[in-house]
Amino acid sequence: MENTIGGFFLKFDFIKNAIASGSSAIGFDLTMLFYIMMFLVGAVAITALLATVGGLGTYAERKISADIQARIGPNRVGPFGILQFLADGIKMMTKEDIMPSGADKFLFYLAPFLCIFGVFSTFAVIPFSEGLQLTNLDIGIFYLIAIASLVGVGIFLGGYASNSKWSLLGGMRGAAQIISYEIPVTISIMSIVLLSGTLSFTEVINMQSGFPHNWFIFHNPFTFIGFFVLFIAGLAETNRAPFDLPEAESELVSGYHTEYTGIRFGLFALAEYIEIFVVSGVSVSLFLGGYNLPGHFLHGTLGAQPLQFAIFMGKTFFLYYVVIWIRWTFPRLRADHLMTICWKYLTPIAIFNLIGCAFWMVLFNGKSFYDLLMH
């Protein structure tokens, strides 16, 4: 109970008192209702935030790419073109939704649903701040790895169900790429689990602090490499350039979503942009200190929540910017190079990091590099 968003707010006396007086006035216990209300409000708030992040992500992508290529980018809709994503959304809504002849109807509808479903479900455990985390599962990290895999199923089904050769090729490539890169991601995350001894996001974050020397990325040399392994493999899992082979527009037209039009294409795009946010957010939570303020400033108070939220979002958006930066700077990989990087470089490096972290735990009793230098 205490580990949910409702439990966090019930720690404060004035909320507890308000609920107690409300319960006595009405005649039955409002605590349960409060929990349900908090879940609903939190979920709706996160969804609204995600839709905005996804929309602004497309805007940021176009604006940053324009900046990198010395263009202006969208500048007509609203100030600096910032309302461009709304215009895009309305355009997608009003476009015809075409079902190609011979397509597998049920799977064709199911594919974008699985993408959206997989991405949104991860946000039940991602910690934006101490309070704004729907629930702090004991196996939160494990749950996230498991449920995020649904996106790969959606991409594969989208390619398979379309009855188009481009789509099938894109879907097959996507499935192979996503499942391959899941291995380095899982093993890199496992090395953090090994160091922290927990699968709960909140506990992993509380072991770090606001200052960089306590972040897990600087814990030991192995986690420093592990962060980059996780980030590169996460980039590949979101099908972003330079790993955008499933939708390689110069070879496969548009890959797995060639036959998707209108709103269902929009949902695929939304899922992709939110997934970048998920990958950045997980990297921030596990390696870069998460929402922690320097020196646990105001830890556990209501006033710290906006600050923690801002810190988390700031770090996440920095990684988001790096992802977009990488996309517009590096050329696409070849399919065999992609598999070589995953299986012959990233996976052995990730296993090496895991063994290194295990030895570090035994030899130095889990102390960080900084602790060893100082004491």
Binding site: M92, I98, G366
Partner: protein
């Protein structure tokens, strides 16, 4: 309602429910806003303007299947390694660190020998030359 149901299943199912509602809502809104005038040419699968030959569900490279197999082995092994990783810190604090480390390493060794075997067999190369080994074997 038990404590666990409230803490574990309810927030997740609410988040999932909102994802379902968002999907259905978006599709419904698009249904009312968008035109719907299908015709034969419009519904044809896109093949750069050519008329498609046959269905798309043709044969494809067997490499994808091999990658899937390797993935399943690694995935199951990493799932089995998670519990060990979680209790590792506790074991170290109890003074059993080297004991657990040996067990952990022997488990990781199985994983490494698996990837080494696949590497040697050439299953990690995307473009595998089947002819090279088979001719040598025949001789």
């Amino acid at each position: 309602m038990s404590n666990q149901a409230l803490e574990v299943f309810m927030p997740i199912s609410i988040m999932m429910g909102i994802a379902v509602l968002l999907f259905i809502g978006a599709l419904l809104a698009a249904k009312f806003l968008s035109p719907f005038k299908p015709n034969k040419n419009k519904n044809m699968p896109y093949e750069c303007g050519e008329e498609p030959v046959g269905t798309a569900w043709s044969m494809f490279n067997v490499r994808f299947y091999v990658v899937g197999l390797i993935f399943i082995i690694f995935d199951v092994e990493s799932v089995l390694m998670f519990p060990v990783a979680v209790i590792f810190k506790k074991m170290v604090s109890l003074g059993l660190g080297s004991y657990v480390l040996i067990i952990f390493l022997s488990f990781v060794f199985i994983l490494i020998s698996g990837i080494a075997y696949c590497w040697k067999k050439g299953d990690l190369d995307w473009v595998k030359s089947y002819t090279k080994t088979s001719i040598r074997d025949a001789e």
